[in-house]
């Protein structure tokens, strides 16, 4: 391991220092350094959007705080859920009289901490509702869909939910469209190399060189199969097959595609991969309304890529096109 850090036990503290000096539009909660929020939140009666998750996935999660996206985020240790207190504090900060939509990913730790945070919130009279992203088709079969992990599709949930809140949707409305974004999204990842948590000092899983792990999770959770690394075209086809077998996207008006690198894959390769995805979607009669190609949701320095496809109706199309501004995603006009 060879990394740019000071103290492996203080990675998150030091990262936050950098993020906060680099981005004056973000603030740390006064009494909880693990809560970061949009410094320019207007007290305007809109629904507050909160998320949270482990660190090491940057720009997720804190990179999606900003206008048209998330209002406040709870920040966890590397690959580890934020505390219940941090989720709770994020709720309090994001609350502007219209309730809180907590939009997060389906992991044991996050589920438990959000559950506890909601108990705290209830005792303070805060109205909090959740949408739990479970877009990773590789993480459980269709009959166990509620067990599936949330991966890069969470970004769609934030984008759609954030746009709805910005447009003045009420809490029911925000939850409805964020849930729709999750329901109409499917993702799958492939890993080509493991990653190393600096405090641990060595990878805690292995992918043999020349092999790829299909369906790997964002923390190295086991995938479906480990096979010899294939061409980008074959990889794209195999991954898209899983996604399209799991949900019929021909019922939608069009689709949004998100291709995210896992950290160490060159951007050049993400575009090589995207060219194949686009071709395959067209072959199957699906129209791409919009696409995102880049490092949107990473796993430290893992090599690999995730593919997410979101089916659109008129409402989601209009929301996905709204402007937003944040470290991870800026959309104009």
């Amino acid at each position: 391991m060879n990394r740019i850090i000071n103290d492996p036990d203080l990675l998150v503290e030091h990262m936050l220092q950098g993020v906060l000096v680099a981005h004056p539009e973000l603030t740390q909660a006064k009494d909880n350094q693990r809560v970061v929020y949009n410094a320019n939140l207007a007290q305007d009666g809109r629904v507050g959007i909160v998320t949270g998750g482990g660190s090491g996935h940057e720009p997720a999660f804190l990179g999606y705080v900003g206008p048209g996206l998330v209002d406040a985020v709870a920040v966890g240790e590397i690959f580890s859920s934020p505390t219940a207190k941090s989720f709770f504090d994020a709720f309090c900060i994001a609350e502007r009289g219209a309730g809180i939509a907590c939009l997060y990913g389906n992991y044991a730790g996050d589920n438990m901490n959000v559950k506890l945070a909601m108990k705290m919130a209830a005792s303070k009279g805060l109205v909090v509702r959740t949408v739990v992203a479970n877009d990773d088709v590789a993480s459980a079969p269709p009959e166990d869909i509620a067990k599936r992990r949330g991966v890069a599709g969470e970004i769609f949930m934030w984008k759609i939910g954030g746009a709805a809140a910005a447009q003045g949707y009420d809490l029911d409305g925000v939850i409805r469209v964020a849930q729709k974004a999750v329901d109409q999204c499917r993702s799958i990842g492939v890993g080509l190399s493991p990653c190393t948590i600096p405090a641990v000092g060595k990878p805690n899983f292995q992918i043999p060189n020349g092999q790829m792990e299909l369906g790997i999770g964002h923390h190295g959770e086991p995938g479906i199969e480990v096979v010899t690394t294939e061409s980008a075209a074959r990889m794209a086809e195999r991954m898209l097959d899983y996604i399209l077998a799991d949900r019929d996207f021909t019922v939608d008006d069009s689709v949004v595609v998100l291709v995210s690198g896992l950290g160490a894959t060159p951007v050049m390769e993400l575009y090589i991969y995207y060219a194949e995805v686009e071709r395959l979607l067209k072959e199957r009669g699906l129209r791409v309304h919009r696409c995102y190609v880049g490092n949107y949701f990473t796993s430290l320095e893992m090599m690999g890529v995730t593919l997410s496809v979101l089916g659109l109706d008129a409402e989601l199309a209009s929301l996905i096109d709204q402007p937003c501004r944040s470290i991870g995603m800026t959309q104009t006009e």
């Binding site: 438990m112 559950k115 506890l116 948590i197 805690n204 923390h219």
Partner: protein, 215 residues
């Protein structure tokens, strides 16, 4: 003959738990490193040390001290350990609120209360290769000993034995929960980190209680 210990000496009992976890920081991480991500000691010590600081120089009932520990875990760790151990200790605290004296009856209710509270948020059970493999047999062993009218001291000893046996049983289990489940059969042959920390906690709790027993 009916042994008990004072319910007003909470800070020092919980300080003992802090001590044992902080002292085993490296060991717990090492155990976790074999089939997990090697941070269990770091995570646990972080939360427990935080509690240790909060307890310094304070006189607290057992319930209050358990509340402090819960808060420290829930505010300090996050991940899964914060809510899991947090739920365990809050569930315990709820059973000893207002108790001046803790006898075996109350101690049994405290243990069961902790386990029930934990089961509110975890579906895991014996055989999953997790902290439940130490906790559940230990709670049951104490309850059974107590229901047989065994002395408090003896029931504590049986609880410790069951916790240690439970911990050791994880060596021959395939992980069905958490990170180690990635490894399938390869998770065989080593202890589960959570079971080790849970056994440390229960053992020290028993020793702390025993040292304070009077008739």
């Amino acid at each position: 003959m009916n042994q008990s210990f004072s319910g007003t000496d909470g800070a020092s009992i919980i300080s003992d738990l802090v001590e044992v976890i902080v002292a085993n920081r490296e060991y717990l991480s090492e155990v976790d490193g074999a089939i997990g991500d090697g941070d269990h000691g770091i995570n646990m010590a972080k939360g427990f040390a935080r509690c240790g600081k909060n307890l310094e120089g304070r006189e607290l009932s057992l319930a209050e001290a358990l509340d402090e520990l819960t808060l420290s875990l829930m505010e300090g760790i996050g991940g899964s350990m914060g809510p899991l151990y947090g739920s365990l200790f809050i569930g315990m605290a709820d059973q000893v609120r207002g108790c001046q004296e803790i006898d075996a009856e109350i101690f049994a209710r405290m243990l069961r209360g902790g386990l029930t509270s934990l089961q509110d948020i975890s579906d895991a059970g014996v055989g999953d290769k997790c902290l439940m493999d130490a906790l559940i047999p230990a709670v049951e062993a104490f309850e059974q000993a107590h229901s047989r009218d065994t002395e408090f001291t003896e029931a504590l000893r049986e609880m410790k034995l069951a916790a240690a046996r439970g911990r050791d049983s994880t060596r021959d289990l395939v992980a069905r929960i958490g990170r180690a489940s990635r490894l399938g059969e390869r998770s065989l042959g080593v202890l589960d980190a959570g079971a080790v920390s849970c056994c440390l906690i229960l053992t020290r709790l028993a020793d702390s209680a025993e040292a304070r027993l009077h008739s």
